[in-house]
């Protein structure tokens, strides 16, 4: 069962690499914001997975804070692109 979680961590790391390549390549700023959003959603599942592998209940608070606050940065950049704030 340990091996299963390690392989899942490898697959998720591959997903992170692909999103980061889009962040480097992306022609406009919107593409980069989309890549940032995908990476921050992927990191939520990485944090919960690592919390299960370290076997500590208190560690998933970090991922809770990510889920609550992580999208505010994306939201504010999108409002800037729109011309608002």
């Amino acid at each position: 069962m340990e091996l299963f979680f390690e392989i899942i961590l490898g697959v998720v790391s591959l997903a992170l690499i692909l999103s980061f390549i889009r962040f480097i390549k992306g022609p406009t700023a919107s593409d980069r914001v989309v890549a940032l959003d995908t990476m921050s959603v992927t990191f939520i599942s990485v944090l919960v997975l690592l919390g299960h592998m370290f076997n500590r209940f208190i560690y998933i608070d970090v991922s809770l804070v990510y889920a609550v606050l992580g999208f505010i940065g994306v939201l504010i950049i999108a409002r800037y692109l729109e011309g608002g704030i």
Binding site: F54, R56, I58, Y59
Partner: protein, 131 residues
């Protein structure tokens, strides 16, 4: 791959990343002309410094401090000891992150005032001390 090799790779990654961040931030502070870029480089260098402090206090296969519970048998004898990482760098870094946010916020407020007065944020063109 053995345990020792993995530990070596981990140490090289943490220390290498933190040193690279500090050096890149220092380069940006020294060579860039734009004030916002200078503050951004300061934020990057500060992130590297925080990572260096926490990585120094890390002990291999330790667990987080304060939360740990001791493992006792029925006669209240200690069965096994729990390795903890060093809590002092974590407390220092916790303060340093918040202070860093304050420094960045005050610097950016000054940048906005400078822009409204001089109509530029290039440090070569802002020469006089008069506001």
């Amino acid at each position: 791959m053995t345990e020792e090799l993995m530990q070596q790779i981990l140490k090289i990654s943490f220390y290498g990343a933190s040193l690279a961040l500090i050096l890149i931030g220092l380069y940006g502070v020294l060579t860039k002309k734009n004030l916002i870029k200078i503050l951004l480089s300061m934020a990057i260098a500060e992130s590297g410094l925080n990572l260096l402090f926490v990585a120094i206090g890390y002990i291999m296969n330790g667990t987080a401090p304060i939360f740990s519970t001791a493992v006792l048998d029925e006669n209240n004898q200690l069965l096994e000891t729990v390795t903890m990482v060093d809590p002092i760098p974590q407390a220092l870094v916790l303060t340093a992150i918040v202070i860093g946010l304050g420094v960045t916020a005050v610097g950016l407020a000054l940048v906005i005032r400078l822009y409204k007065h001089h109509n530029t944020i290039n440090i070569d063109e802002i020469r006089n001390l008069k506001w």
